[in-house]
Amino acid sequence: MSTPDAAGRTLKVGIDVGGTNTDAVVLDQGDRILAWAKRPTSADVTGGMREALSAVLADLGPAASGVGRVMLGTTHATNAILQRRSLGRVAVVRIGAPATTAVPPLATWPADLVAAVAAGSAIVEGGHFMDGWPIAALDEDAVRRLLGSVAGGVDAVAVTGVFSPAVTDQEVRVAELAREELGADTPVSLSHEIGSLGLLERENATVLNAALYGAAGEVTGALDAVLAEHGLDATAYFAQNDGTLMALEYASRYPVLTIGSGPANSIRGAAFLSGLADAMVADVGGTSTDLGVLVRGFPRESALAVEIGGVRTNFRMPDILSLAVGGGTVVAGSPDAPRIGPASVGYRIAAEALAFGGVTATLTDAAVVTGRTTVGSRSLRRQRAAVRDLLTAALAASDDMVAGGVDRMSLGDKDRPLVAVGGGAFLIPDAMPGVSEVLRPERGDVANAVGAAIALASGRWETVAPASADRRAAIEQASEQAVDRAVQAGAHPDSVRVVEVTETPLSYLTEPAVRINVKAAGPLAWW
């Protein structure tokens, strides 16, 4: 539920840009779905968004002027990392030598991702201890040498200083050096703006953020352009990794925060559409299937560091298991040993899949051959028997992958329903071991967009306080700050509440201390 703004506008548009399809929905004040559309995601992103938005606005007719808000969720960044495409080349600066050399930057990354992202890296002298005492003075010459060596072959810079969340100045100084060496147009990601304590995880997230500026620019630029084309004076929000919203300008600087928003939105959307509060959710897109768990209406959060494309980060994110099973997933190999993905024809499915007259065997073709769906324009009956056998074997292998994933995510809690959503939900079989039933709610094909449209606004505040009697007061203060931030992000002041308080003790110090992280969230308000 939401209240009208000053101009009486009560409608909100949720848009989800997936690797394959772009979905849009329009919800009214009572969260009823007034219009929906699904269009292929275009190579330039803009085209698909324009098409989907135009379609739902046309459906609304004159009521379209009542749209006051647009919420955009996208798996664009996630797909860029998983498929190693549209990634910028990053110069990685770690400030910390002689400490931290036991594990160099990117040492824990998959080799192909390093090849796609790394323009060069160095651990330079500098950084701080927790109490602010310097490890070493910042070695500006070493920074300049690294930046000089990569000039011309670098798209962005990622800077991570030891204990920079407590002492930020050296990271800021490296950003100045980067402007001098590479020009003001080369964006710089600073780790203290992106992650919390935990050097490798924060560094990883910072490098990914830097690698994603190009991919993010594609999306934010497209949204701006499409809104302008329709003359919509709507406030734009981006969905982020915890399923809440952030402003457009903020999202363009911190694209990594959009990672995980798609799964969070699809789980929230699946909850809304199915009316269930506890279930497994399978969101099948064109490139991947994201498995999540709905617990009391919200995504189960991962207790562990989250891996994205084989890289550890320390965001709190929905507990998601991503499988390379999607409608556009390419099938290869032989009937005895089918190979599934991870490559996907993505938005080109309508041109490249066999069922659409193309020459690439996909899981959608496998679903057509076995009768699970009837999409496409060409019969597959005339395909060679070997191809049909391969497709049949591939779908069986895909079912095994999904069942194995569901089993892992169930944590032994069997016999919950599975809600299958997303454009490729037809890939999910009607029965599966470990689930009581498979549900396919109406409009489940646009569950992500629905989830974006009903998302909350949130705010976070982190502080370090003495672990004494003052701790309670510090938590209260942090809670007030988090609530303020959520209200600034657009939450209704009357309904925002603290949803999470995390305390991390910092032991073995002369002055015992505790790190306090508070998150507040609430429904969006109109003013």
């Binding site: 400490a99 931290t100 050399t101 036991a102 030891v162 304590l197 672990a467 073995y508 110090l509």
Partner: protein, 357 residues
């Protein structure tokens, strides 16, 4: 027998279980070990019986705040600085590196240190688990005097201490550790293989590897882990309260687990000081230090460090007997309940469990 890069994940899982909640999160140590083994090759794992009497054994561990070591990674130069200083002081080559503490990250990183300085890893440690203080080691219980302690910090400072007792060793190491950034490498005992016999807990690296491998066989992981450990399950349930605070340089607090399923209607409290130390139910002790208490994920059966405990987690609380050395009067004086400030007399876990079973 060799420890290879491929062994590291299993070793880490095993060390986490033996960490009984403490010892530092193993996930920080894994890339350190992997990097070193990749660069320097596999490390020989040798039993104490294979070392000549006069071989020099160095007990090594990282000391510091777990949250700090997650941020302040070590330097590749630290093990070499330690080797130089140990060999300068003793005039002898190092024969083997031994984990001072097998539990937690300190059980994993010695693999890297052994690889970096090119010596074997001893299949033994000084605790068989994790303990929070430097003097809570088997060598101390066995009466091996602390002689030389070498502390190397992340910037390369080397501090060589000659403490007069284990307690002084703890106090001095802590002071140097704090000054050096709350994350340092410590060679706490330097002893000959002859002196080590009977004074260390043998076979613990193999044990950690065995525990880790038991989680990789497939099937019921919790049952496999219990069988491997010979552990009893005190409760299976949900974490309903986590109360943590820091004091005296330690994480202190308690976690309350509410039973589910067959354990429904029961409540159990685990008292924590860096490690899980005492388990209470209805005001009665169900298990206590130095016996082993591990809180593990109810499904994955992986150990959950005290710092990672969160409301709502589904867990199983396991307890099993410690090494017999800790049950001797001197062992209990060093690391029994009284040593941690609990006003209760130690009773072996296998006796306590049967009272309530």
């Amino acid at each position: 027998m060799w420890v290879t890069e491929e062994d590291v994940p299993a070793l880490a899982d095993g060390c986490a279980v033996l960490g009984t909640g403490g010892g530092g999160a193993v996930d920080t140590a894994v890339p350190v070990a992997v990097q070193a083994l990749r660069r320097y090759g596999p490390v020989p794992l040798v039993p104490l019986s294979e070392l000549a009497d006069d071989a020099v054994v160095v007990a090594v561990g990282g000391v510091g705040a777990p949250t700090v070591s997650h941020e302040m990674l070590g330097s590749v130069a630290q093990p070499e600085r330690m080797r130089e200083e140990v060999e300068r002081v003793t005039g002898r080559r190092i024969g083997a590196v031994m984990a001072a503490e097998i539990g937690g990250s300190n059980g994993v990183e010695p693999v890297a240190w052994a690889a970096q300085i090119g010596v074997p890893l001893l299949d033994a440690d000084g605790m068989g688990r994790a303990f929070p203080e430097v003097q809570m080691v088997s060598m101390h219980v066995a009466g091996v005097p602390v002689d030389v302690v070498v502390v190397v910090d992340v910037v390369g400072n080397v501090s060589t201490l000659r403490p007069v007792s284990g307690e002084w060793s703890e106090r001095l190491v802590r002071a140097v550790c704090v000054a050096g950034g709350a994350s340092v490498l410590v060679a706490s005992y330097i002893l000959t293989a002859a002196r080590a016999r009977g004074a260390v807990i043998e076979g613990t690296v193999s044990r950690a590897l065995g525990i880790g491998r038991s989680l990789r066989i497939g099937g019921d992981r919790l049952a496999a882990l219990r069988a491997e450990l010979g552990a009893r399950e005190l409760i299976e349930g949900k974490v309903v309260d986590v109360d943590r605070r820091t004091g005296g340089g330690f994480v202190r607090g308690s976690v309350v687990v509410e039973g589910t399923g067959a354990c429904g209607g029961r409540m159990l409290r685990v008292e924590i000081q860096n490690e899980n130390l005492v388990v209470l139910e209805d005001g009665e002790v169900r298990a206590s230090v130095p016996d082993m208490i591990s809180v593990v994920d109810a499904q994955a059966a992986t150990a959950i460090p005290t710092e990672m405990l969160r409301y709502g987690q589904r867990v199983s609380v396991l307890a099993w007997p410690c090494d017999p050395l800790w049950r001797t009067p001197r062992g209990l004086a060093v690391a029994g309940p009284h040593a941690f400030g609990y006003d209760l007399d130690y009773r072996p876990v296998e006796e306590l469990i049967d009272v309530h079973a």
